[in-house]
Amino acid sequence: MSPRRTETGGRIDRLRTIRFTFDGAPYTGHIGDTLASALLANGVTLFGRSFKYHRPRGLLSAGVEEPNALVTVLSGEVREPNIPATMVEIYDGLVAVSQNRNPSLAWDIGAVNQLGGKILSAGFYYKTFMGPVFGPLKGTRFWMFCEHFIRRAAGLGKAGTAPDPARYERMNAFCDVLVVGSGPAGLMAAKAAADQGARVILAELEAHFGGSANWSGETIDGMLAADWAQRTVGQLEGNDNVRLLPRTTVWGYYDGNTLAALERVTDHKEVAAKGEPRQRYWAIRAGTVVLATGSFERPLVFPGNDRPGVMLAHAAERYAVEYGVLPGQRIALFTNNDSAYRSAVALKKAGAAVVAIIDVRGDVSTEMRRLASEAEAELLAGHAVVATEGGKALTGLKIQRFDAMSGALSGDERSIHADSLLMSGGWSPTIHLASQAGAKAEWDPARQAFLPPTPTQRWIGAGAFTGSFSTAEAIAEGRAAGLQAAGGAASSAPVPVVEAAPGDPDPAPVFEIKAKGKSFVDFQHDVTADDVRLAHREGFVSVEHLKRYTTLGMATDQGKNSNVPGLAIMAEALGKPIPEVGTTRFRPPYTAVSIGSLAAERFGDLKPERLTPMHDWHIANGARMYSAGLWYRPMIYGLPGETVEQAYVREARATRGSAGIVDVSTLGKIAVQGPDAAEFLDRVYTNTFSTLAVGKARYGLMLREDGLAFDDGTTWRLGEQEFLMTTTTANAGKVMQHLEYFLDVIWPELRVTVTSVTDEWAGAAIGGPNARAILASCVTGTAVDNATLPFMGIAHGQIAGVPVMICRLSFSGEMAFEVYSGAGYGTRVWEALIEAGKPFGLVTYGLEALGTMRIEKGHVTGAEIDGRTTARDLHLDWMLSKKKPFIGSAMMDREGLIAPDRLELVGLIALDNRPLSGGGHIVEQLDEANPHHSLGHITACCYSPALGKYIALALVKGGKARHGTRAFVSDPLRNRFGPIEIVSNHFYDPDGSRMHG
C-alpha cells in the first residue's frame, strides 16, 4: 500500500491495481483513482511549475479548477496537453508527463525567473524591449529578438503534430429539462422532473454522480449521502425518459436555450470499442435548464500560499473520503469560514493528525469549537498564516495574531510543524452558465460572493449555485426546480431529511493576509497581491483592465480560483466595495474544451465531395481531378509522360480538329416554372426571355441590385411556362437564393416556382467539326441537322435507349451540343457518345482545355465576373435591354460604374512567346526593380493551339482604347516580365462562323 493511502474508505477498489507512468517513472493506483489522487497516494508533492516564475507547485484542488497540476497525456505520438491531473482517470498503461519545466520537474532552469522578482512585475513587458531607435535593431527588430526567447520560455504543454486518430462526434439532443450538476440539488431536480414524465438529461462533469454527497459524510433519508445519491441514480437509470451523462461538462449556454456539452466517452479507457468516439459533443436544446452546478472553494491570499502542500480544504476532504488518500500526516487548516471545520473532522476520521485550525475570526461559534475538539485540533481563533516553509514540499508554517476587522497582524510569529496546509477562503457559486446566458451577476455582501443573476433565458437555479450552501436547502430547491421545470405543481410531500454538521454559510470578509513575501492570487500565472496593487497604482482599476494588465484570471482555470480574491484586493486598494470594481461576465467555455470535439464528425472530413454522374468513369480513364468548390471536375485526361500543358493543348487541338467531349454536369440548373416564368426571367435577366420560342435557348446575363455583373448562362425554353436556367458552377447556389428572394419577398404576386435540378441532369458537351456527325450516329428519335437543331435549338431523342435532351450551343466556339440525360443514365450516355466518337478521334477534355478554348473565344467566367465588373467592362453592354427595367438597371449607370478609368476586358498576346500567369499585372513601363503603376491584371491565360501563341484575358484600364498597343506583363511574384500586345478578347473565329456551321 502507498504511503499516504488509508486502509479503508473511499470508492477506489483496493483489490485492483492499475499501472501507469508519470514523467517516465512507474506508479500504481487503483480503479477509481484520478492521476492526482494516485500520485498523491504515492507521496508525490510536486506536480507542476508555474507559468512565469517556474515556481514548484503541488495540487491545489481535486477538480476542474486545478491551476497547478497540469499534465500532458500521451497516447503514442498523440499528445493532449494541459489536462488537470485531477480530471484524469487512470487506466492501465496511462502515460502522463509534467509540463513547462526543463530539464525536469524537480530541477527547472526556468526557475531563474524568480530572481527577476520585482522587475518582472505586472506590465513589465510594456515598459521595455523597445530597443534602439537607430541601427540594425531599430523598428521592431530588438523586440522580435527578445520575443524569440520569451516565446520559448512561455507556454505550458507541447501540442502534438501527429494527426489524432481518435474519432469525435456531435449529438443533437432535445429535452424538456436539462439538469446540470448531480449533487443533491441536481439529483433531486432530475428525479422530480422525471417523475412528472418530462424528458430529462442529467449531466455530471465528473465520473460519478452525486457531487458533494460523495464526500460530505452527511446523512440523507437516513443513509449515508453517497449511498442516497447512488440509490437516486439507480432510480433515474430505470426511467426511459432520462438520459444520464457522466463525464459530461456543460460548457456553453447559448441563445435559444441551446447548451453545449462535452462528454468524455473513452478518455478513461485503455481502448475504445469499434466506432466509439473519444469525445461526444452534445448540442442540447432544453425546454428548461436546472442549474445545480454547486460552488467553488476559494483560496486565501497569504505569503507562501503556493507552496506544494497548500491545498483547498474541501479538496483534501475529497481525497480522504472519496479516494482514501491523505494529503499529509500533520495537517493544519486556515480558514475564514465554518466549512473548514467539517473538513477537519473528516480528515481526522480518515486517520490524519489535525494539528491546528487557524481561523481569521476572533469569534468562533460554539458548534465550530466543538468540531475543532472533535478533530482534536488546536483552535487558533483570531490568527492568520503569514508564511509557509519548505521547498518542494511543505514542512511548516508561521502564524500571527490577526484582527479580521482591520487586517492588522500583531504579536510574535509562531511556527507550526505541518506537512499539509488546507485553506478555505469561502465559497463562490458556480454561476458561469447563468452569466453566459446573458445577465450580470450580483454581489451578496453576506455570502461574500457573486450570486446568479435574474434569468434571461429559461433556467432555474438550485443548491449551492444559488448561494444556498446547505444540503437541506439544496434538496428542497432541487426538487422545487425539477417540478417547476417539468411544469408540475409544487409538492407538499416531505423532502428527504438531511443530517449534517452545522455551519454558518457566511465567511468573514477576509481575502488577503498582508505580510512580507509573495502572496499569490492567480497561481498559474503568478499574479501576486502586489501585482494587483501595482495595477491599481498605474490606473488599471476596472476589472477588465486588472485582468488584462496583470493576466489575472487568464490562465487555464479561467479565474475560478483567483477572480474574487483579485477583485477584493483591488476593491480594498480603491476603497470601494467589490461590486463597484465590476464583475467579469463569463463567456463560453466553462472549462477548456477540445478542438477535436467541436469539429466533431467534420474532423478529417471538412466538406462533402460533390460528384458528377460520370465521376467514376473519369477516374477510371485517367483524369486528373480539380477541386472546384465542393465539386470534382476533370482537369486533364493526361497521357503517360504528358505535362499539363501538353495534355490540354492536345485535347483542345483535337477538339477543334475533329471533336471533343467534356462533362458539364456541374453547371447550375434551375427549373423555372409557372404562368409568370417568362415575365420573371425578363425582370431577372438584362435581356428579354419572354420572346424566346419554345424549343430554343438564349444566353442571358444577370446583374446584382447594385448594377454590377452577377452571373451568366443559357436558359432553355422547354414549354410555354417552363424554362431550364443554367448558371455558372460556382454561382449556382447564389443565383438560386437570388431568385427565391425576389419571388418570396419582392414579387410574391408572380406565380413561379424555382427548383434546383442541377443533380437531375447529367450533361455532356460535345463540340468540334465532327460533333454533329458523332451525334447523328448515335441519336435516335430526332434528327440533328441544321433544320431540326439550329444554333440555340433544342431537340429530344434517345441515346443508348434512354431519353436525352440536346441543345445546340457552344462555349468552345465550335459546332457544339450539350446532351442532357437523367443523372442515373449519365455514364451510359457518356460512354455511348465516346463509342460513337471513336471513328472520329473524339477526345475527352477537361477544364484546362475548356478554359483554353473559352479564352480563345474571349468568353467570360468567374475570373472576369468577379463582383467588381460591370456588363460594360466585359463588353456585354449589348445585352442590356433598353426596353424594360431589370434587376440592376436603375443602378448600373452611376458615376463610378461608367468612369473612364475602369478596368475593361481585353486580350493579350505574349510577344516573347513565353507562358503568362494568372494574376500577373500589366504596366506601360517596365521596372523590374520597383514595379509601379499597374494598369490591370491577367484573369486567365493559356497556350492557344489555335493561335500558336501564349495568350491571356485581362482586365486593363482603358481597355478597348489600347487594342493594338504594346505593354508589358509585370509579375514580380513569379519574376515574369516581358512585352505583350493588347488585343480584342475575341481571339478566335470572332464572327462565330465555326459554331454556326
Partner: protein, 92 residues
C-alpha cells in the same frame, strides 16, 4: 439562436440565411429615382433593440421569413412568412 419557422417549427440558426434589414422598400422597377434606389441598396436601419429582418430558411423549407428580433438579447419576438399566405398551413 433558434428561429421558429412558421412551417418547420423551431430550428437552429445554422439552417437560416440572414437577408438583412426588412424595412427597406424596393422602388418600383421602372423608377428612375436614383436616391431611392441607393437608399434601398445601401442604407440600413441598424437598431440596438428590436429589428425587423428578413431571413431565409435556406436549410429547411427555403421560405423567407419576416423576423422581429432584439439585437441586444437575440430574443426572437415574432416570425412570419415574408410572402404572406400559407399561414394557415403552419405549425403553431
Amino acid at each position: 439562436m433558434l428561429i421558429t419557422c412558421p412551417y418547420c417549427g423551431p430550428r437552429d440558426v445554422i439552417e437560416f440565411t440572414y437577408q438583412g434589414d426588412g424595412n427597406r422598400e424596393r422602388p418600383q422597377p421602372a423608377s428612375q429615382d436614383l436616391d431611392a434606389w441607393n437608399a434601398y441598396v445601401y442604407d440600413r436601419l441598424n437598431p440596438a433593440g428590436d429589428h425587423n429582418e428578413i431571413w431565409q430558411h435556406s436549410g429547411g423549407c427555403r421560405a423567407h421569413l419576416r423576423v422581429v428580433r432584439n439585437t441586444i438579447t437575440h430574443e426572437i419576438l415574432s416570425t412570419a412568412f415574408a410572402r404572406g399566405g400559407h399561414k394557415a398551413e403552419g405549425r403553431s
